[in-house]
Symmetry: C2
Subunit: 209 residues, 2 copies
DNA sequence: GCTCTAAGTGGACATTGTAAAGATAATGGT
DNA sequence: ACCATTATCTTTACAATGTCCACTTAGAGC
């Protein structure tokens, strides 16, 4: 008997859906031990298969990690889409984007520990590029709304890049913020609130012409 | 005869300044192969010492990487300090900060590949925390100037965090921007110019009350 | 000059990623 | 229904890695 994941066919020679199980185990492992703690053999163990099984589906370790990264971008794109649906006001919409971004990153730390780790994924993988792009497009759409409502001469590309950078940067910095706040004596602001403050500043900046 | 680095005493049993040589070799290796490509034994080889030598100075691999991360933060703090020196205008100063940040990241990719990789460094290391904090403080100082000149009621902590996040995020996203631009048909903007556009937006946002 | 300690070496061991060859189950054609 | 083919998974093997240990070498201090 061994641990198995989604779509498992217990105690059968064939797994059922090993690729998905391996992705899940990878995300779990990276969540626990960080990107560096990833190990193909440990992942195989957690999925209840031999250490050589992953190779048949993903080629090598980088292939598996790339697949996880793609899944991460898809989760992000879905979250951003769902979060902005039905919101008309530009500022509210951008805030919703930011919240969704940070929350997705916190909900799937295993995936987010990999998506921008360019040496862990195959940077030439088309799916990975497209998955990232389609997540970006959701944000781009929201910035377009900002342009339409607040400033017709807004450079949407620049503003979208800035928003993305600020969100991803915040995710990376998050753990350091508490330490910094303790040293500077500043209040510790919850990420959700911080996102709102970020949005307030950037929205005002985008409004100006 | 073996490759040696700074402070080397050729062909002597003792190295001269092995810690510095190991840091340099680490930065070089991470630059070539990315954070994942780091290997303690390869670093030792490049420094011309046996594979067990690093342990006497840094304990384990994480100790060495932490030391490199500290060096990275120091380089950043120095660059930010130098870049802002003598600049009085708030907007120009913030732009200079951004430029210095991105340029330092590009000049020392080995260091920047490690500084925020929390699973590769010892997150309890006091020097690492302090080095990061002192780099942040240079930025904080600049945002204080923004407050003094443009908006006395500006929340400096929030604005400084936003600026840092945007810069670090931009560094991470940089390699994807070209791809995105190719897909959206947008122009490929040099990072230096992008930083200026970022600054223009955020400065306007900070000015608003 | 002698001892003590810091600095570096060499070997051992468990763990890792990948490759190759073998075993097992499912599939598809007749 | 049967057989061959193929996809899936296992086993074995090998080189490389990080850390530990015992050993050697060189400086520093008395």
């Amino acid at each position: 008997m061994s641990r198995r994941y989604l779509g498992a066919v217990p105690d059968s020679y064939h797994h059922g859906d090993l690729p998905a199980a391996l992705r899940a185990a990878t995300a779990e492992l990276v969540t626990e031990r960080g990107p560096t703690g990833f190990s193909l053999r440990e992942v195989a163990r957690r999925a209840g298969v031999s250490h050589a099984a992953p190779a048949h589906h993903f080629g090598d370790a980088k292939g598996l990690l790339t697949s996880v990264a793609i899944e991460g971008f898809q989760k992000l794109a879905d979250a951003l889409t769902e979060a902005t649906e039905g919101i008309d006001d530009a500022a509210l919409r951008l805030t919703a984007c930011g919240r969704a971004y940070v929350r997705t990153a916190q909900a799937f730390p295993g995936h987010f520990g990999v998506i921008f780790q360019e040496d862990m994924v195959d940077p030439t993988n088309q799916e990975w590029l497209e998955a990232g792009l389609s997540a970006y497009m959701v944000l781009y759409e929201t910035i377009s709304v900002v342009r339409d409502q607040l400033n017709p001469s807004l450079d949407v590309d620049t503003a979208a890049t800035l928003s993305w950078a600020a969100m991803q940067g915040l995710v990376v910095l998050a753990s350091k913020l508490t330490v910094v706040a303790k040293s500077t004596g500043a209040e510790v602001v919850p990420l959700d609130d911080l996102i709102e403050r970020f949005t307030r500043i950037t929205i005002e900046g985008m409004r100006a012409r």
